[in-house]
Symmetry: C2
Subunit: 443 residues, 2 copies
C-alpha cells in the first residue's frame, strides 16, 4: 500500500458525527445572526506581509524570475516578500476592514455583518490550538451608538441560550481602565497596568503586584489600585464606587457614562444573560477603545468562549479614518468542547436517516422505489440499501447508522402488495399494506 495519507500539521478532518455537531453550532449561530441582520459577506483573502504567523502563498509560475541572484545565498525573510503576494486569512477583522473601505460607496451604514469561516495561522499546534480553525464574527460598523453594543450582547444572549450553555458576560471599558491609570497617578503606564491585571485570575495578586512594581509602579500607586481590583458588588454597585473615584477624571467619567448607558439598554431589553462589570478585563487593549466583552461558560472550566469590543479606527489602516465599529467573536472550537463536556449536543438522530429499505434484488428494488419517493417527498429521511448484499450485512449497516425503521420487501410482500416493517428499538416487526406504509411510519 502507498504511503499513509495524512493532512498538514495543525489542520483537522472532521468525521461525520463531529461535522454534524459542528454544523449544529454554526447553524445556531448563523440563525441568530440572521435574525439580527440581513447582511452576510464573504471576505477576500488579504496579502498582509511581515506577520510571522501568516501563511504565505507562493506566486505561481516562474516565481524566481524576478529575483536577482548574484551568487549570495538568499535569505528567507527577504526572499518571501519577493516570491509571495498572497496570504491565507489570519483573522476576519482585517479583511472586513478592507472590505468596508473598498466598498464604502455601496454599503449602507451602519453596516452589520456576520461571517463564519476558517482562518490560518502558522502557530505551533497544541491542544486547543490549530493552524486551521474557525472564526465566527459579527460586527456593526459606521455608528458609535452604544445600542450597537447592546445589540451584540443580545446576540450573545440568544446564541448561548439556544445552545443551552449557562454563561456570564464580563464587561469592561477601555476608557475606565485609562481613568484608573490616571487615578493611581500613572496614565502613561496604562498598557503595563492592564497587561498585568489581566492575569489576576491566573497568577494571583502577589505576582500581579510584583509585575507592576517591576514595571516601575511605586507602592502608593499599587496600593491605590488594590481596592479597585477587589471591588465587590453588582455592576451597579461597582459603578457607584467607581464614579466617586473617577470624579474629575474626564476619560474615566466618559467610560462610566458609556457603561451606564449600556447597562440601561441591557436592562430595558430584559435579556436573560447574566452580566458583570469586571475591571480587570482588558483583552486586546491597544485595539479596543470603548466597551470590552468576554463570555465565560459557568458550568465548565474553560477560557473565554466569546469576546470582543469597540474599536474606533479599524478602517484607518486602509485609509478611511474615524469609522467606529464594535464586534464580537465566537470561539467555535471551544464552544464545541463545552457542549461536548456538558453533553449538550442534541440527539444525533435529528439529522439521521429515519427509514431504510433493505435490498433483496432487482425486482424488489423497483417495487420499493416509488414508496421510497413517497416518504422522501414527505420530508422523511429515507434511503434504500444500494446492493442486494447478505441481509445480516444490511442489518448491521442499519444498526451502525442507528436507523430506527427498517422496511423489507421480498417476493411474498410484492405479491401481497405489503411491506415488513421492523422497529429497531423495540425489535418489533409487522406486516403493513404498501398503501399504508407512509402513515404508519409517520406515527
Amino acid at each position: 500500500m502507498a504511503q499513509k495519507p495524512s493532512i498538514p500539521k495543525g489542520t483537522r478532518d472532521f468525521l461525520p458525527d463531529v461535522m454534524m455537531r459542528r454544523n449544529y453550532i454554526f447553524d445556531t449561530i448563523k440563525t441568530v445572526f440572521k435574525r439580527f441582520e440581513n447582511l452576510s459577506t464573504l471576505m477576500g483573502k488579504y496579502g498582509d506581509e511581515g506577520d510571522k504567523l501568516l501563511f504565505r502563498i507562493l506566486n505561481s509560475g516562474d516565481f524566481m524570475s524576478g529575483v536577482e541572484q548574484n551568487g549570495e545565498p538568499l535569505d528567507s525573510q527577504k526572499l518571501s516578500s519577493k516570491i509571495c503576494e498572497k496570504g491565507l486569512r489570519y483573522d476576519l477583522t482585517v479583511p472586513f476592514a478592507r472590505f468596508v473601505v473598498q466598498y464604502r460607496d455601496q454599503i449602507a451604514f451602519p453596516f452589520k455583518r456576520y461571517q463564519m469561516q476558517p482562518v490560518w495561522r502558522a502557530d505551533r499546534p497544541q491542544k486547543g490550538r490549530y493552524r486551521e480553525f474557525y472564526q465566527c464574527d459579527v460586527d456593526i460598523i459606521g455608528s458609535d451608538s452604544l445600542l450597537n453594543e447592546a445589540e451584540l450582547v443580545q446576540i450573545v444572549d440568544e446564541v448561548f441560550n439556544n445552545l443551552k450553555i449557562n454563561v456570564v458576560l464580563k464587561i469592561n471599558n477601555r476608557k475606565v481602565l485609562a481613568g484608573i491609570a490616571e487615578y493611581i497617578g500613572k496614565p502613561d503606564a496604562l498598557v503595563d497596568i492592564t497587561v498585568a491585571i489581566d492575569k489576576l485570575d491566573k497568577i494571583g495578586i502577589d505576582a500581579v503586584n510584583a509585575e507592576l512594581a517591576e514595571k516601575g509602579l511605586d507602592n502608593e500607586a499599587i496600593a491605590k489600585l488594590q481596592p479597585i481590583l477587589f471591588m465587590q458588588g453588582t455592576a451597579r454597585e461597582k459603578m457607584a464606587q467607581l464614579k466617586s473615584l473617577m470624579s474629575g477624571i474626564e476619560i474615566g467619567t466618559k467610560g462610566i457614562e458609556e457603561l451606564e448607558t449600556l447597562f440601561n439598554y441591557l436592562d430595558a431589553m430584559g435579556l436573560r444573560i447574566e452580566y458583570e462589570l469586571d475591571l480587570t478585563l482588558a483583552r486586546g487593549l491597544n485595539y479596543y477603545t470603548g466597551a470590552i466583552f468576554e463570555v465565560k461558560a459557568k458550568d465548565v472550566a474553560m477560557g473565554s468562549i466569546s469576546g470582543g469590543g469597540r474599536y474606533d479606527n479599524l478602517t484607518g489602516i486602509f485609509g478611511l479614518p474615524n469609522v467606529s465599529g464594535v464586534g464580537i467573536s465566537f470561539g467555535a472550537d471551544r464552544i464545541y468542547d463545552v457542549l461536548n463536556e456538558l453533553n449538550l449536543f442534541p440527539e444525533k438522530n435529528a439529522e439521521n436517516t429515519e427509514v431504510i429499505f433493505l435490498n433483496f434484488g432487482k425486482n424488489e428494488e423497483i417495487y420499493c422505489l416509488p414508496y421510497l419517493q413517497q416518504l422522501r417527498r414527505q420530508g422523511i429521511n429515507a434511503e434504500i440499501y444500494p446492493d442486494a448484499s447478505k441481509i445480516q450485512k444490511q442489518m448491521k449497516y442499519a444498526d451502525q447508522r442507528n436507523i430506527p425503521v427498517v422496511v423489507m420487501a421480498g417476493e411474498t410482500e410484492i405479491n401481497d402488495k405489503t411491506f415488513t416493517v421492523k422497529w429497531m428499538k423495540e425489535g418489533r416487526q409487522e406486516s403493513v399494506k404498501a398503501a399504508n406504509l407512509l402513515e404508519i411510519i409517520k406515527k
Copy 2:
C-alpha cells in the same frame, strides 16, 4: 488616503445582496443533500505537488535553511518543492479520496457525503473563471450499485426543481463509448474519438470528422460513426438501436445494461427531471468508468451547470484500490448566473429586516427596546436605528434597505403609550396602542 485596498486577482468579494443570493443557492442545495444523507464532511487541505495550477503555501519560518545554495541560481520548479509542503485545495475530489482512505476503518460504507467550499486554482482569470470559486459535490463511495447513480439523479432533480430551473439531464456511459470505438474498429482510438465528438455542438460535424481523420481514423470508421452521432429518438429508442450495433461487443453491451438498469430506476422513482441519452457526452473520460452525467439549463444559453459520473478507482491514488464511487458536482457560479438571467431569485425581503424603530433619542430608545425585543422573540426581523440622527437620514436608510415597516415613538407616543407605524409601500401611517404593536405588525 493610503494605497487603494484590493484583493488578489481572480478572487471576489460578495456584497450583501450578492451574498444573500449565493446563500440561497447553497442553502437550497444543502437542504436537499441533507434529505438524502446524514453525513457531511469538511476535508483537510492536500499537499499535491507538480500541478501547475495548484497554489502552494510557503513553509513558515526560515524556509530556506534546508535549501543548499552553492552560488548556482535557484530554479523555481526545483525550489518550490523544497520550500512548500502545503497547497490550497484544488478540488474536493482528491481530498475526499484521501479522507476515505485515511478513515476507512471509521466510515460505514456505502459512504455518502456532500461538501460545499471554495477551491483555488492559479488559472488565468476571465469571465466565469475565477482563482477562488466554490464547488458543491455529493459522492457515494463503496458501492457499485446503480441505485447510487439514480440517487444522484434524484438529488439533481430536487435541487433544480427547488431552484425552479428547467433542466435536461444528459446521460451517457463510458463503457458504451468504448463499445462504439470497438464497433467502428478503432478500440485504441477511444480517447481521440471521444475528445473529438465531445466538441460536436461547438465545432460542428465537419470539423469533428476532420479531427478524427487527422487522428488517423479511416473513412470507413468515420462513416460507421456518423449514424451513431446523429441517432434520434428517446433514450429508450436509442437504446434499442444501440443494442443491435453492440451485439457481440462485450463492453458496449455491459454499458447498455447499465444504462437500462439506471433508466428503469429513474422511471420507477417517477422523477420530474427530463433526461436523455447523449452518445456524444464524454466529460473527463479517462477519469470516469461508467455513467456520465451533465445538466444543462433549458431556458438560457450556458455551459453545463452540473455534472459527474462513476469512477471505479478514485482511492487507488492513496493506496486503497477497487473502491467504486459515483459523484456529481454543482457549478454554483454558473447556477448563480442562470438564476440571475432568468430572474429566479426569491424576493430579497425574505431575509430582510421587516421592521425598524426610528431613533428619537435616549428616552425614546429605552421606550422602544422592550417592544423591539417582543418582535424579535416572535421571530420578526426587527432593528432599531442606532443613532438619533436626522429623521430624513433614518428614513433614507430604511428606504435603502427597503424595510417595509417603520415604527416611530416621540414624546407624544411615549405619553400615550402608542407607536406611529408607517407602512412604507402604501405610505400609510397609523397610530397604534403599544400593547397592540406586535399583533398589528404580524398582520
